[in-house]
């Protein structure tokens, strides 16, 4: 468990809200790989930290599940766009693992503009005894070479190397908000505010624009793409969400340009709760297919919704994440929190969903029992191997001892990024610059 004690406090909320400050340690994405053995985080400083699950130990079976740092590398550097006189942040917006096909691991990481394919591989042997260079790698003077020898591989301490294998750049005018690897294992999509591009993992100098919602006149722009993801099994299908609260399902077999969706998911607005903020809070911050490919989950500001792919007119299930904020939307608009982009995840069996909230709280909803729980990721409350206590937010009236009042919630502590182990009940929760890993109680 990574525990960084350095929390740079920035008093000016304006700076904090607009990401002007370089708080390089703030975790900006977190993702398990397909086996759950590895867990990657990306931060605002452009670094990727990969954690590996500890191998099972016979003497200490309870230690199974601990994740230790496996590799750390600088994925993106700050860049300067001289044409636009614009600084490109190094912040890692998303990490996606490729399914493992050999001993090495591959992941895609992206900042606002550039996607990179990284290979993470282990090395525990090194060749020794070259003829033309000495042990330090310097070229030897040919006149000193008097005999030929056969280089041999010598064991050495395990070294984990991360090498950038591909750089996919110059295809996005706007900020990349999501990337998704296709189930065909050959292509991926990168999505910015107005476009979705399709890439081949082997080809970096060209991509295909498959969705473009940019109007001819930008002043007519009223909607942006907020997230996109490939279907987990059907390699021709992908979904993208919009700032107007709708989700479009597209079939790449229909046309090269998927401007016309094949399905359009949208819930009619409830007139009783309409306000000036209706559109803002209905903007979808994350869309995720269920593992079985039957459902879509979307997160908007106050709720998380599960949609059946066969039912476009309304969500199958709607879960309130923090409905007590409904009366505070004006101040949340004022301090820009209303634009926070919360993500959401499925558990391995698609029966539980998880998403974040404020005050370092995160929520879990059991789809079968309809039970929900609020948990807190904080250093005070979560000593190693401590059991998380459910938290409760009290809305007005009398506050009980263990409850927290809405007014005392800390809106600077937000859990935007979470991930769930693909097979087990292990979750990773990014809370500002801390990463918390929780797992089911071990007997």
């Amino acid at each position: 468990m990574e525990e960084e004690s350095d929390t740079r406090k920035i008093n000016n909320s304006f700076l904090r809200d607009h990401n002007y400050a370089t708080e390089a340690d703030i975790i900006s994405t977190v993702e398990f790989n397909s086996s759950g053995e590895l867990l990657a985080t990306g931060d605002k400083g452009g670094r990727v930290v990969v954690f590996q699950r500890e191998q099972e130990s016979k003497t200490q079976p309870q230690r199974r599940g601990e994740y230790n740092v496996y590799s750390t590398f600088q994925s993106h550097e700050p860049e300067f766009d001289y044409l636009k006189s614009l600084e490109i942040e190094e912040k890692i917006n998303k990490i996606k693992w490729l399914p493992q096909q050999n001993a090495a691991y591959f992941l895609l990481s992206t900042n606002d503009k550039t996607v990179k394919l990284w290979k993470i591989s282990e090395r525990d042997k090194r060749p020794e005894g070259y003829n033309l260079k000495d042990d330090d790698g310097r070229i030897r003077d040919p006149s000193t070479i008097t005999s030929l020898r056969v280089p041999v591989l010598q064991p050495m301490d395990l070294m984990v190397e991360a090498t950038a294998r591909r750089v996919f750049s110059n295809a996005h005018t706007y900020h990349i908000n999501s990337i998704s690897v296709n189930s065909d294992l050959q292509t991926f999509i990168s999505t910015d505010d107005l476009r979705v591009n399709l890439w081949n993992l082997e080809i970096t100098d060209r991509s295909f624009n498959i969705v473009d919602i940019k109007p001819a006149n930008m002043e007519e722009l009223t909607e942006v793409i907020t997230s996109a993801e490939f279907h987990p099994q059907h390699c021709h299908t992908f979904a993208y969400s919009s700032s107007k609260g709708s989700i479009r399902l597209c079939d790449m077999r229909q046309a090269a340009l998927c401007d016309r969706h094949c399905k359009y998911f949208e819930e009619p607005e409830d007139p009783s709760t309409r306000s000036f903020f209706s559109e803002i809070i209905s903007s979808i911050s994350d869309v995720k297919f269920s593992h079985n490919g039957r459902y879509l989950m979307t997160r908007d500001y106050l709720t998380v919704k599960v949609w059946d792919l066969q039912m476009e007119n309304k969500p199958l299930e709607t879960y309130q994440v923090h409905d007590y904020l409904r009366g505070k939307l004006c101040s949340l608009y004022e301090n820009d929190c209303i634009f926070d982009k919360f993500e959401c995840v499925w558990n391995g069996s698609d029966s539980v969903i998880m998403t974040g909230s404020y005050n370092n709280f995160f929520r879990m909803f059991d789809r079968n029992t309809k039970r929900d729980v609020t948990l807190e990721a904080s250093r005070e409350n979560s000593k190693p191997r401590a059991i998380l206590k459910p938290r409760k937010v009290c809305v007005g009236g009398k506050r009980r001892k263990d409850e927290i009042s809405v007014d005392s919630l800390d809106f600077s502590k937000k859990i935007l990024h979470t991930t769930w182990h693909p097979h087990e009940n292990i979750i990773a929760v990014a809370a500002t610059n801390n990463l918390y890993i929780f797992q089911d109680k071990v007997n």
């Binding site: 614009l86 002043e219 009223t222 709760t273």
Partner: protein, 311 residues
């Protein structure tokens, strides 16, 4: 955007704030008495106004960035549009320039003034009841108290001389804002007419290209243009949508408030584009508004603004 020429039907029944509460929770039940209703509507209008102000600040800030968060900018711009739509529907938008006058008049007279209601009103179709104008007027009255008067009146005068006022318009109509001289109530008819003229004019002007367009714009619509220009910095701004011009045609109070808020300089409202405008222009408030002079000044201003905002 809105159908023109529809006659407004004014009802003085207890108003329910149309379109939901600004903050979500403050949307109370319809008050039984007219006074209570007015109070309710007043607070609603105030909230709406402050929301509008806040949104405009945010859009301005977005525009200062070379590459703003597009999603956020779009959502804020849509919110502004929505507020504008609602204010247009209930007439607030059109009569904002007469707000001070309204504040000085008894509410009953206002209600009876059919002239005010000549502007378009899709509210009736939308099934929403418009709010009493008096309340809005009062709100504006309060509003003007919050800001520093001296500088603003002066600036306001400068503004009105700089904006190429169509000859048939009396400059009084431009001065009739919250800080203005408070035109007598009888002016309304003229003003109402002028508003419409202005709108039509601007629509015609839109075809003349950017420069002509900008000359026609009041400085505040300029603000609006910049605000919406946020989305696209790479291309020259196309002629502004008349609806958008209209949208920003009366945001002075908010703008000055913004300045106060942003700069923390209560007594120095001359910050930002207005400041430039004044300094650039060699004409003082007394200078007559010669259209060509204005044009060159404004072009110069545009140029400098472009440099400043990095577009």
């Amino acid at each position: 955007m809105f159908p023109k020429g529809t006659k407004r039907k004014f009802s003085d029944s207890g108003e329910e704030p149309a379109g939901g509460g600004g903050g979500g929770g403050e949307q109370g039940p319809a008050a039984p008495s007219a006074a209570a209703a007015r109070a309710l509507t007043s607070s609603y209008s105030l909230q709406r106004q402050s929301l509008l102000d806040m949104s405009l600040i945010k859009l301005q800030l977005c525009h200062m960035l070379v590459e703003p968060n597009l999603c956020r900018s779009v959502l804020i711009a849509n919110t502004v549009r929505q507020i504008q739509e609602e204010m247009t529907q209930d007439g607030t938008w059109q009569i904002m320039t007469q707000a001070l006058a309204a504040a000085q008049c008894p509410a009953d007279r206002l209600v009876a003034t059919e002239v005010l209601c000549r502007q378009t009103d899709p509210a009736a179709q939308a099934g929403q009841s418009p709010k009493p104008f008096s309340v809005v007027g009062l709100e504006e009255g309060y509003h003007s108290e919050e800001v520093v008067m001296e500088g603003e009146v002066e600036t306001e005068v400068t503004m009105s001389t700089l904006s190429a006022v169509p000859p048939q318009l009396s400059s009084a109509s431009y001065l009739a804002g919250p800080f203005g001289m408070g035109p007598c109530w009888e002016d309304e008819e003229d003003d109402g007419g002028c508003d419409e003229d202005e709108e039509e004019d601007s629509e015609e002007c839109a075809s003349e290209g950017e420069d002509g367009e900008r000359d026609r714009l009041s400085p505040d619509s300029r603000t609006g243009e910049q605000v919406f220009g946020t989305f696209e910095i790479k291309h020259p701004a196309p002629p502004a949508d008349p609806a958008l011009e209209e949208l920003f045609s009366d945001v002075d109070p908010s703008y000055y408030d913004l300045d106060t808020v942003l700069t923390g300089m209560q007594s120095a409202p001359k910050m930002g584009p207005y400041d430039l405008l004044e300094n650039l222009s060699s004409h003082g408030p007394t200078a007559l508004s010669s259209s060509s002079n204005c044009r060159s000044d404004l072009n110069e201003l545009d140029h400098i603004m472009e440099i400043i905002v990095g577009s």
